[in-house]
Amino acid sequence: MQKPRYVDISKCTGCGECAKVCPVVLDNEYDMGLSSKKAAYKLYPQAIPGAFAIQKADKAPCRLACPAGLNVQGYVQMVGQGKYKEALEIIMKDLPLPGVLGRICPHGCEDACRRCEVDEAVAIRNLKRVAADQFDPRAIKVPCAPPRKEKAAIIGSGPAGLSAAYHLARKGILSTIFEALPEPGGMLRVGIPGHRLPRNILDQEIEVITNLGVEIKTNAPIGPDLTIDALFKKGYEAVYLAIGAHKGMELGIPGEKAEGVQQGVDFLREVNLKGTAPVGKKLAIIGGGNVAIDVARSAVRLGAKEVNIIYRRTRAEMPAWEEEIQAAEDEGTAITYLSAPQEVLTQDGKVVGLRCVRMELGEPDSSGRRRPVPIPGSEYDLEIDQLIPSIGQTPDLSIIGDIEDVGTSRWGTIEVDPITYATTKPGLFAGGDVQTGPWVAIGAIAAGKEAAESILRYLDGRDMAEGREPITNENPQYRPIPERIKKQARSAMKELPIHDRVGNFHEVELGYDEETGKSEANRCLNCGYCCECFQCVDACIAEAVCHDQQPVERDITIGSVILCPGASLFDPSPYEGFYKYNQHPNILTSTEFERILSATGPTMGHMKRPSDGKEPTKIAWLQCVGSRDTAHCNNGYCSAVCCMYAIKEAVIAKEHMKGDLDTAIFFMDIRTYGKDYEKYYNRAKDEHGVRFIRSRVHTIDPMGHDLILKYSDEMGQLHEEMFDMAVLSVGFEIDQERIEFAGRLGISLNKYNFALTPAFKPVETSRPGVYVSGIFQAPKDIPSSVTEASASACAASIDLSEARGTDIKTLSMPEEIDVSDQDPRIGVFVCDCGINIAGVVDVPAVVVYAKSLPNVVYAQENLFSCSQDTQDRMKGIIKENSLNRVVVASCSPRTHEPLFQETMQACGLNKYLFEMANIRDQDSWVHGSNPEAATRKAKDLVRMAAARAALLTPLQEKRIPITMRALVIGGGVAGMNAALGLADQGFETIIVEKEAQLGGLARELTTTIEGDDIQRYLIELMDRINRHEKIQVLTETLIVGFGGFKGNFYTELMVGPAMYARKIEHGVVILATGAIEYKPKEYLYGEDHRIMTQIDLGKRLEVKGADDLNQVVMIQCVGSRNEENPNCSRICCQSAIKNALHIKELNPDTEVWILYRDIRTYGLHEDYYTAARKNGVKFFRFSKDEPPRVEATDKGLFVIFKDHVLQRDLRVPTDLLALSAGMVPTDTGELASIIKLPRNEQGYFLEAHVKLRPVDLANDGIFLCGTAHGPKLITESISQAYAAASRAATFLSQPEIILSAVTAKVDQSRCAACLICVRVCPYNVPRINENGVSEIDEALCHGCGICASECPAKAIELNWYEDQQIMSKLDSLLEGVL
């Protein structure tokens, strides 16, 4: 299922106009919510070119709650932006009466508003009114289809009738409305008094409809003189019946016909049509709805002295709106609850009183409200002179007479099809109160709109119901309510003072001013993310926005799957009591802090703490948040990356603050186990002064903006320290979504829900053909993740190797035209980039200018140069005008140069005859506020580009075939796996091993910590190697010579004991020279047989068991983390624990003590550390400055060390002392000098980039794996071997390599053989040849140009950046300046 992004990326130019106009401000996930973005946003901020996307969820609840389906979120956002016209355009897609509904709508939307979960609903209705107040709806251009000839008649000009007429008009069907009363508007006019809905508003908005050509005939009641049938006969092809419900319901009590009794609706109609009506002195109103209130408030205005509403239930059940009730009370109306009239008391036929009975609430009735029950004997009389029952209305169907074929309900309403609103009589439709009984205006509007659709279809003879079934969504997905949102009360509306209300019907509610409107609108939570205001659609010149994209289900045929869904970060929120993450803004997660450090982050790299923007002076890091923590969250594993990133963050933060920052990292063990990580840790400590505090913080106490951290040190001493900020070093977690994902794919997970993989097949899941890489498999750092990614690609490629080379398309290019003896004919294309450039730069002026430049024979403006159609047009122009140089003035060559060059090649032009002027990124975008200057600059840039273009010459890229053979140096586990990874893909591979047998260090090993048998694995592996037809193994072989370049290497070998000389040609090299166990110089190793390394111990346990051992002591970090070898050897902690567990398994009574500095069981290995402690292995920490001492005497072997908790020396006799000796690389000094390979100080080979290219060397075509790269576990070596194979295969699978033509060339006649090029070249490419002059091999040249700019004889030029080409730009830029 592919989710829509609502932007067509093939059209999107990444200009960002959509985001600019998008009103929806959301948290920016890229900045971990520390900054904001829009609903239209750049999906991958760092991608180039970056296309946009629109973030959407389900339609907002307010919209769903609106009977007419108004896009509430849309217009609220528009009001928030002050875009009232746009707001009205959105509203009036559904509703022609924004100002009316903006006053009287009962706003069901607000009940649905999720802002209630924070504080109060957004005042949606009021915001609608703001739009109509600020912009005259009559000025909105309503888009209408061309008028059709058919006509419709509408009976009734209430909201249903008006809505139907409006929507019909939009569809091109003009209608006539027949209105019985003298004025149009129906209940809006006669049911609602002017203080709630001023007449002029209603009039104006009816004009919106009549402006579309709708005719309203007033005083034209339906009846005997004008029957429905007659309308049909008159030529109206459809009739819409919308006469409302204007007949008041009777109380059904004695005396109701007396003088002084008037139905509420009748009273209101009289007031509304005549402006007044007679009122008594003491007035009783029966009912609890809005009509009762309207009557009461009208009566007060007309001078009634006492107005009393009598309602049979309590206020809580009253259907009238609370604000109306409140207003009525404020204006002097009294309300009597739990009372019902029983009889109208009359005298002389006139009302004089009312007998009421007290009520109480009984059982709930069908509406769910508790039924009022009279209290016997509680009757009482009330003195009144006027009674206005207002308990409800019904349609008065009598007026239309009996219509054939039309059914009615028992409530006296017309029956219609619930979807189409068609009656059983063809052509007759009905809606509004006449169909529903008295209901809300917006319901009638909705009904009218639906009827209009039906009528259109009816006229077209189409199925009226098709596709109109309402879709219900049981479980809508909305934007989650932000956790740190601030409460903000709903804005109150100004009202007319009470004393000003008497004797008039002036509007009471005075609306919001603009500011209030905006601030209220901004309370909207944007539940649906995108509000579908469609501003982006208008803004996008490329027409890339596409809101109606739907999710697409796709089937893709595949041969294997690689899973790299990653993991989620631990969320500290559930442990708020301790971490206080949500309640204090200066407690951040490490990822949030990363963003604060980032130049592209929310603060643009300026260090500021969130609460007050202060530059922090003290920051604390809390390690192991959500990792190694079974107390809070059951994440028993180590997240493997947090120590390193915390140190990095602390160092960078200090650098940002230029030293004015104190940083403290609170940790349990520092786990800087990666290659050269320990050095970084040491530098952080010693050079940067990052403080490392071995302690777990037990309390974080916020104090204003600051935080007090309470902790106890190793000796149990309590400390308190104040910090400006605290960073939670959060670990990884597999969330529910990923667990379900794994479930769908049918792969097994481990107890922490990481993907389960076998030790010797580190990227294979439980399901064949499905591979995994990255932290979905286990927590790991970037180098390991990237390595695994390549490894899984290798595994998948093996499955797919048969299909290699199929399903590819080749692009054929015409033969290149020779332009060498042509004068330059330059074509200049100046891009608008929509409005990105043209919005600032006067592009036509630039085009005219370009035409005036020397050698320019053609110039034109492109709307979007990069669009396919423009490219096609450009090809035509290039050919027609015989252009031989092309300049495109548009955006960055980094993103678009290859595209335009391809276009040139398609025209037979050499791609180096191309030049770009970046008038967007370097001009219009950065000088937007100064169009004149930007235009001037654009001209300069175009002139400079044209000047250079004229001097460009064709350059040929060299194509070199590749020798499809790999050389693997080293036949250990890594070398063998690398060979298999390549050979299984079909590449011939040669393994060179200096020893007589394959296997390397693994020959010495017994099992992995997981318990897998290494020797058995090794036998199987060697067997596969030996039987593989693509693999050749050369043992006892030395490398004595090496030469060539990527894809075409040769290696000279001395093979076998006879030293037979051989030369092998190969395309790639994989280095797998391995490492060996360090032979300790420390702790009397080699002087006493009871002292051994962990490897020795492993073997000893296999052979002799542990029955004879009472006590074993192990010392960690032997030969690691010291001056000589500052790095951590990564594997020793788990080796020690593996052997310790083995001892405990063999003999539970043996005491095992491990003396350590930091236990570094990273990732899932933490479980073994936990298990060791549970099984009684004892761990004692020692510090680097006070290492343990060993005494070997006749009386036994003793280890003396200082216990950190007791603070005193312990002297322990032991049967065995196991030294956790680190790893040292195999001696590769000679190899490195033969092949010219870079190594670090310890002799491990150096990868090209620690994180991004972990198995590549800087030397092209040479790859690295296994312990030759750094100490690692066998599982990690296998992964890396596969990764190296994958990288090598990527290289070998190309038929040839294309070398860039941007290389340096020597004018040998000028060369003084000074050797400067030889010395300055970072790649040692230039050499002085046999003729005594410099020669630069273009196959090896990287094209930096350093040699060219240092040559004292000016004998070297860099192709495409020749001095005259560069100087031409300067010349033309500065032409005429002097």
């Binding site: 003084a1312 053989a1313 004998a1355």
Partner: protein
């Protein structure tokens, strides 16, 4: 090779300021290698001089040329046709080139653009050091192939003097004591005993003391 150093530009300016049209002539030999007078330096000097004279309100035309060598007739001949148009030439060749050009083009003043320093080596990029003073009687056979004449501040033939400290010369901590080097090398060659052989009083007549020197090879002479 001959090592030279660029002259301070103000010195060159002072010499040529009264002319209207000058030629800057580089040499593609030693001075190119020691980065003082190759084509690039010609460009740098020409550009800087043009700016200087404009800035000081003076019209000055400056052209550039770089010859293969300025110590050979044939190469110097290459500019015969154009040289007449210039008021003066600034030669960025060593003192040899400057003189030879002056000998050839007698009516045009030739000014040196570099300070010719010594015969030496490129110790590393950007560092050149003296190795020979052309004394005409090589004694390297007696001094472990390290020349005390060019490398000892006092040219002591039986050094070192008492100022040798930690292997450095008394006149500068950056300067190796030649005699320390000689002794070290003798030690390496296992010939330290040679140190006690007194070097005789030198015949300086083959050095500058004997006046301008000349080498004539009749056997190869045309």
């Amino acid at each position: 090779m001959i090592v030279a150093e660029k002259k301070p530009i103000e010195e060159i300016i002072e010499e040529i300021k009264d002319y209207k049209k000058i030629l800057i002539a580089g040499c593609n030999e030693c001075v190119t290698v020691c980065e003082a007078g190759g084509k690039k330096e010609v460009g740098v000097l020409a550009s800087a001089l043009r700016m200087y004279f404009i800035n000081n309100g003076k019209k000055m035309e400056i052209d550039e040329v770089t010859l293969e060598r300025q110590c050979d007739h044939e190469y110097l001949e290459e500019i015969r046709n154009q040289i007449g148009q210039y008021d003066a030439v600034v030669s960025l060749a060593c003192g040899v080139g400057v003189q030879f050009m002056a000998e050839k083009y007698r009516r045009i003043p030739i000014y040196p653009g570099v300070n010719t320093s010594f015969m030496g080596v490129t110790e590393e990029r950007g560092v050149w050091t003296e190795r020979c003073q052309g004394c005409g009687q090589c004694i390297l056979a007696r001094t472990a192939s390290i020349c005390p004449i060019s490398r000892c501040a006092k040219r002591l033939l039986n050094g070192p003097c008492g100022g040798s400290t930690n292997g450095k010369c008394e006149i500068s901590k950056d300067l190796d004591c030649a005699w320390q080097l000689i002794i070290d090398r003798l030690k390496e060659l296992n010939r330290l005993d040679d140190y006690e052989k007194l070097l005789p009083i030198k015949d300086w007549s083959t050095e500058r003391a004997g006046g301008p020197r000349k080498v004539v090879r009749e056997d190869v002479r045309l």
